[in-house]
Amino acid sequence: MQDFSYARATSRAEALALAAEGDTAILAGGTELLNWLRIGIAAPGRVVDISRTPGMDGVEALPGGGARIGALTRLNDAAQHPLIQHSYPVLSQAILKSASAQLRNLATIGGNPLQRVRCPYFRAEEPTPCNKRAPGSGCAALHGFNEKHAIFGWTEDCVAVQPSDPAAALAALDAVYVTERRDADGRRIPARSFHVLPSEDPTAHTVLEPGELIVSIEIAEPATRSAYLKLRERESYEYATVSAAVVLDLDGEVIRRARIALGSVAMRPWRLDEAERRLQGQRLGGPEVEAAVDAGFAEARPLSSNAYKIRLARNAVLRTLNLATRAS
């Protein structure tokens, strides 16, 4: 770890001003930034601490339904907020399956989707061929250990997956990341396209630009019939092998609309658009449901060691559909 200077923002304007300067890393919860600094993923000359910036945390109901979550809201505070628990169980569950209780007390909802991939080649303490660590150096995982890597949207330049649990739930909820910048207007970035696929840029992680801060996350109408399922070889404190976020809108036993996002299967939370389209109008538990879900996997492509993840993800979706049906 190299020496760095430290500055603390006392207002949102100051945070944006400090963030806009080059060679800067933003400190919110710090749980992931510390990893970057220790491993050498980032070596900023300056760290700007925004964790005490006023007015950027807490959960509030939006007029006309919906919720706004301040970016600095601690994960556990977001998950246990009554509005999130009751109206957005998929998000509450996803957060509570993240990390450990201690980390969730520190990490923020705005910082969590910014965590970088967990690919062991990317996280190596010494350089290995990885286009995200050293652009142009290749992808050692492509023909290496890739049991937990992508089944959707990968290219030969990067096969890593984005592991954030909340990000998968937010993608299923069609949430929006609300950002601000010092030198330009803020943006409203849809959660489903917040992360960058390797076909767009194998070196990138998110669409966030330097100096751009997430200030809040907005979710539209409540999604009481929703659920999150996280699969992993141990019961807690582990990234997903596959996770599934499902939001259902039912008319009796008929699916009016289903929204499905998979976590840890691609470089971004993966919406199963084709499955969602085919599920519309289907009766719950009917034989067409399986076929509709299977259609969502038509474009899945396995790597050398992870074909099982396709079946696992498919089964996870079917199970989560059932969980969401029973929710509310």
Binding site: D3, P120, G144, L231, R234
Partner: protein, 732 residues
């Protein structure tokens, strides 16, 4: 008063939970420098140049040491065997690189942070050589010229004609079982602080055997052992990773000598993975032949484990096949696959841990083929005597353990395999647990003060398993005291010599020395009182004969003595430092593990629902600490079964993940409260005067096999390659 055998709580618990206990990394000396090792980034080749200019320009950096700065080891080191030396190959004695992560330079700085920054700024130039990934290297017989590990047990063993017996047997099984490399990952990574005063060296070190470090470091510098002091009051878990002397310990002592200042090194988790060996990846090829009644007619077991190119570490994983079951025809063999990798080492549980995984799985497969209950198959093959030597065991109450375990688990009434509980399919499995019993020469001193307080002194180290509590109980029992009146001083080579804290041998060895010393003190106290020792009893600070009773203070006061001090020893036949039981009475611990698992075959999930372990392990000196040990072993075994794997990356020639984020180990949420532990009543008089045996490794044996057997019971999938991960469980 009876104190050994009581379930008292850990006497060192408060110090550890409040942070008062000082571990090696907590130690500090005036003028100390912080060391950070610079690891090789290639697996094979030569260092052709090191550019340390940027590192040396870092404020706070004092020196950068390379091979040319280091002293050469003294020829005395050739006399130290492996083990206790972990490896013959010492980095930074030349320019050769033989594994990724091998230290090639040392940065010394006034603080840790500049040392780390400077280490990252060092540019090393290499001449790369082709390297050999170990797992795909040919399996070859170990070479005795490549270190002493292959002399630790019989590499090959043959009794009868196993091949012919198997060929003629009506029921046969041939299968290969594999397991990945696994790093020990103790909570405390290895750390050492080395300081010289003239030609005297003191090291504060995280170790499992202090005198071994003392002897090795003395040899490195050609000193008498009396010139080296090793201090290790607490070790934060070892599991084998701190059992032997690894290069970083030698290099730190050398660095301190070169710069003339104390040097402190704490390995990062990443460096720990690269510089301290794991349990090796290995394959087991088993063939079993059985008679229709289930009795084994023949058994062959051949293993191959990975090792480095410098030393042949042999993981004697076929030992269970010549120790667990009665059989007239047995052949075992051990081979190694040499590659450019950190030298593997002993890890809980060495030898029997890997072997019981393979053999315990094969026996379950055989039971299925025979159509008999797996427990009945074991009963039919119970080894009344040691199958290898034909000699009687020092003690064995396995039949009782089977019965107790089966009763507590409800084995005979278990649910049918595949029974549903929601999405979960339930399966039950069992396997044998057994571990060879090491004994170590040990000594101890017991001092009894007039006010009735006693002190136990011995150089053993407490790696977190509780010997300091148990030895206080042993001394207290002999002297009629409360264990809290006994202070235990350990972890310092200035104290009487103790054997190591590994091989499950500390309690029976050092404990016996403590008992003898305490009884000697008691005998002298009786003599001072003018009584024959055997006519006296001691209780609550008094010594009593018939109707006469005097306080310790009265007896010592009358004699004008402030205290009584005696030494005791646990000596092995022939003055040996270590053996595997008394001649003619091979020693082992035994038991059985029963588990119930849930498998969700649609989601590839495997979860432990409950477990019962029942053991025949001699006399249990403290049921509370013993139970904790066994539960820890079962959890250790669950990790082996369900998730743990350290992958060697064959294209890069390095360990892929060197941290706890990339290598899963069990967490609390994985472990159900329903883990039951039972010990059968036993007193092993042949193994030592305490009647005790060791349990540190026993609990981790057999578990992986029991889990794999339970998985088969649940869903009919036989997993022969550990760990049992979702990809192997998904229903087709």
């Amino acid at each position: 008063m009876k104190t050994s055998g009581d379930p008292i709580t850990r006497l060192d618990g408060p110090a550890k939970t409040t942070g008062a206990a000082r571990y090696a990394g907590d130690q500090a000396l005036p003028g100390q420098l912080h060391a950070v090792l610079v690891p090789s980034t290639i697996p094979a080749g030569r260092v052709t140049g090191i550019d340390a200019r940027a590192a040396l320009a870092t404020p706070g950096v004092v020196r950068v040491l390379t091979a040319s700065d280091m002293t050469r080891v003294h020829p005395d080191l050739d006399k130290i065997t492996c083990p206790p030396l972990a490896t013959r190959f010492l980095p930074m004695q030349g320019d050769q690189v033989l594994y990724e992560g091998q230290p090639v330079a040392i940065v010394l700085a006034e603080r840790l942070e500049p040392a780390e920054a400077a280490a990252a700024a060092i540019r090393v130039c290499y001449q790369r050589d082709a390297f050999t990934p170990p797992e795909t290297a040919p399996a070859e017989p170990p070479d005795p010229a490549k270190g002493d590990y292959s002399k630790s047990s019989a590499v090959t063993f043959q009794k009868g004609d196993a091949a012919a017996a198997i060929a003629a047997a009506p029921v046969r099984l041939a299968a290969r079982y594999t397991q990945p490399s696994r790093h020990a990952n103790p909570m405390e990574p290895s750390a050492i602080l080395a300081a010289w005063e003239g030609d005297r060296l003191t090291v504060y070190d995280a170790v499992q055997h202090l005198p071994a470090v003392q002897g090795a470091l003395a040899a490195v510098f050609g000193l008498g052992a009396d010139k080296v002091r090793v201090v290790s009051p607490h070790t934060g878990g070892g599991f084998g990773a701190k059992a032997f002397i690894w290069p970083h310990e030698i290099l730190t002592a050398m660095a301190a000598r070169v710069v003339g200042r104390p040097v402190k090194l704490a390995l990062s988790r990443q460096h720990m993975h690269a510089m301290v060996g794991p349990q090796p990846q290995m394959t087991h090829d088993l063939e079993l032949g059985a008679r229709p009644d289930g009795r084994l007619a023949g058994l062959t077991h051949a293993t191959a484990n990975i090792t480095s190119v410098t030393d042949d570490y042999v993981e004697f994983g076929a030992i269970p096949s010549r120790a667990f079951y009665a059989c007239d025809n047995i052949t075992t063999d051990h081979r190694v696959r040499r590659g450019h990798v950190t030298l593997p080492t002993f890890m809980r549980s060495p030898w029997d841990g890997p072997g019981s995984w393979a053999l315990g799985s094969a026996m379950d497969e055989l039971a299925r083929r025979l159509g008999v209950d797996p427990l009945d198959l074991r009963l039919a093959n119970h080894a009344d005597t040691d199958p290898e030597s034909g000699q009687p065991w020092s003690s064995k109450k396995l039949r009782e353990a089977y019965e107790e375990g089966a009763r507590r688990f409800g084995w005979r009434e278990r649910p049918r395999g595949g029974t549903r509980d929601g999405h979960w399919r339930i399966g039950c499995g069992m396997a044998d647990c057994s571990q060879g019993q090491a004994r170590f020469h040990s000594t101890a001193r017991v001092r009894l003060a007039a006010e009735g307080a006693a002190v136990v002194e011995s150089s053993f180290c407490d790696i977190g398993t509780g010997p300091a509590t148990v030895f206080a109980q042993v001394a207290a029992e002999a002297l009629g005291l409360d264990p809290r009146q006994v202070t235990v001083r350990s972890g310092d080579t200035d104290l009487p010599y103790s054997g190591p804290t590994y091989g499950s041998g500390t309690t029976l060895s050092t404990g016996a020395a403590v008992q003898r010393a305490a009884e000697r003190v008691r005998g002298r106290l009786a003599a001072l009182a003018g009584w024959a020792p055997e006519e006296t009893t001691m209780r609550e600070g008094r010594i009593t004969r018939a109707n006469e009773s005097r306080t310790i203070q009265e007896v010592l006061g009358a004699a004008g003595l402030p205290e009584l001090s005696s030494d005791g020893a646990f000596d092995l036949p022939g003055g040996a430092p270590v053996d595997m039981g008394e001649a003619g009475a091979p020693a082992r611990t035994f038991g059985a593990i029963f588990v119930e698992v849930g498998v969700d075959p649609e989601l590839g999930l495997l979860r432990l629902r409950r477990a019962v372990g029942a053991y025949s392990a001699g006399r249990i000196l403290n049921p509370r600490t013993a139970r904790s040990q066994m539960i820890g072993g079962i959890i250790w075994g669950w990790g082996m079964a369900a998730m743990e794997a350290s992958h060697y990356e064959p294209k890069l020639g390095r360990w892929l993940s060197k941290d706890l984020a990339g290598v899963a180990i069990p967490v609390n949420a994985d472990i159900p409260p329903e883990i039951e532990v039972a010990f059968v009543e036993e007193f092993d008089a042949r193994s030592g005067p305490l009647g005790a045996k060791g349990i540190g490794e026993l609990g981790a044996t057999g578990v992986a096999a029991a889990v794999a057997n339970a998985v088969y019971d649940a869903i009919g999938i036989r997993v022969r390659d550990l760990p049992i991960t979702p990809d192997k469980l998904l229903a087709a």
